[in-house]
Symmetry: C3
Subunit: 212 residues, 3 copies
Amino acid sequence: MQNTFLVIIEILGTLAFAISGIRLASAKRFDWFGAYVVGLITAIGGGTLRDVLLDLPPFWMLNWSYMAVTGVALLLVIVFGRYLIRMQNTFFIFDTIGLALFVVVGIEKTLAEHYPFWVAIIMGTITGAAGGVMRDILINEVPLIFRRDIYAMACAVGGLVYWIGWLCGWQVYILEILTAATVIGIRLAAVQYHWGLPVLKGEMDVDGGPKS
Amino acid sequence: MQNTFLVIIEILGTLAFAISGIRLASAKRFDWFGAYVVGLITAIGGGTLRDVLLDLPPFWMLNWSYMAVTGVALLLVIVFGRYLIRMQNTFFIFDTIGLALFVVVGIEKTLAEHYPFWVAIIMGTITGAAGGVMRDILINEVPLIFRRDIYAMACAVGGLVYWIGWLCGWQVYILEILTAATVIGIRLAAVQYHWGLPVLKGEMDVDGGPKS
Amino acid sequence: MQNTFLVIIEILGTLAFAISGIRLASAKRFDWFGAYVVGLITAIGGGTLRDVLLDLPPFWMLNWSYMAVTGVALLLVIVFGRYLIRMQNTFFIFDTIGLALFVVVGIEKTLAEHYPFWVAIIMGTITGAAGGVMRDILINEVPLIFRRDIYAMACAVGGLVYWIGWLCGWQVYILEILTAATVIGIRLAAVQYHWGLPVLKGEMDVDGGPKS
């Protein structure tokens, strides 16, 4: 019962991540194959980087469902293209719930490998946010999460909540719910109220440095 | 005898991949070192990603010949620069034969690690196509395989042929020949007849999404 | 005593690398989080790639100090922004000394895994130079080390000096000092005298190739 629920969330989250990648690829006039690859990497890129850093087998190599869900995402974009724009908010919800789940999975997989909590928070953030960075590199854009509203920050704060709850000795399922709620809450509020982090002021002379 | 033949194919394929990277780097006015690195990553990037995902030691760290072949490629471009353009077709043949070999190697290395066939097909495609994607990221271009003619698709179909043949119980060397022939055939036909996959239509509003 | 000295060098080197990343991110108007990530990846990216290729746990996952030093780097740029420009030369010295140390660490970690010397030289170069390449990919620029003055080349020559010294049977601490001195010397001379590698001439027809 509880497991079925988590599987459904993971499928919806993967679908939303893949669709976000495929739609950005379509704006760059990628062909179907290119769009599929960008969608796939958006969905599984963060978890893959986490697994490589933790020296675990990449999760998607153990279960073909991520390939299939990305295929469904491509089909949806091909068939319903224009209509999906009106469903923006639905996908945003899926995406946010998926993000929250990915963060929790990333944290717990890292703790299971006996890494300390600060590594787990980084891995939770990587699981949630790195796929979007890879997507933006593939379509040759500056990664948006580095410039716009609070996305990766929501993952990191969620991870912090997990840690604090754990220090308080709370039970795992409470930690999971609190973490997910934090990620979702911050993400929703950030978009609703246009929260953003301060931007670093560019220096005029920045390209003149000896390192660069 | 058979081994010598495969070694020669691998050297020619590596050479063709490296030259493709070095020539694109030269168009961006990279220096010799930069061109060498781009050529090297074009040639070994796909196999390296495969080996990291399979948790194997990267193949080029066990044999210095890939470094040397890339050095020869750089020398050829430096010395014969303009003349190489006229040899376009020769390099295209090397490149295509190398691609076919890389796909077969990627499939068989993955099966040897006891992964299922669908993972092997993905790894065959990664071995053949990911180096070119890394090359395009390094020279700061949108990866061409996502937009132009059928390249990675040929790898994937070749992998499918391997799987079908295996299900039919055919012998390994026949599977290898059929897979290579499929990759080469599709690739040649795609360039000859300008085959391409359908392009996803861009949505006007694509940048307005909440995820992006 | 000797250890304390090395720790101080590593902290200063990490700080200089992180600041170089954060300053370039600020020129692209990244927010604080984005700048932190770019600074972090500039500082730890090369060593992380080395550890993944060597199948070792990434060094920064075993010690939180790299996270903290990058935080200090961000704080310095936020608070002292404009004044840092005048300290260009100071950071250049830190950066160069850090580079030399990273190369030595990369070489010795690789030799400890029983890889041959030519792999160790590559890993030393990756440790020193790959973080800057990742930084440039994240800010969507063509990697500068591929086009401007001698940076990665200094790492490679330093590695060569290590190898030659080892063949001569010299003691490890002498090899380390000679290697570091070589990297620092070449780097300083390259900037002072505008040394650069020859640039590959672009071919007009470079985009017309079948592979590209």
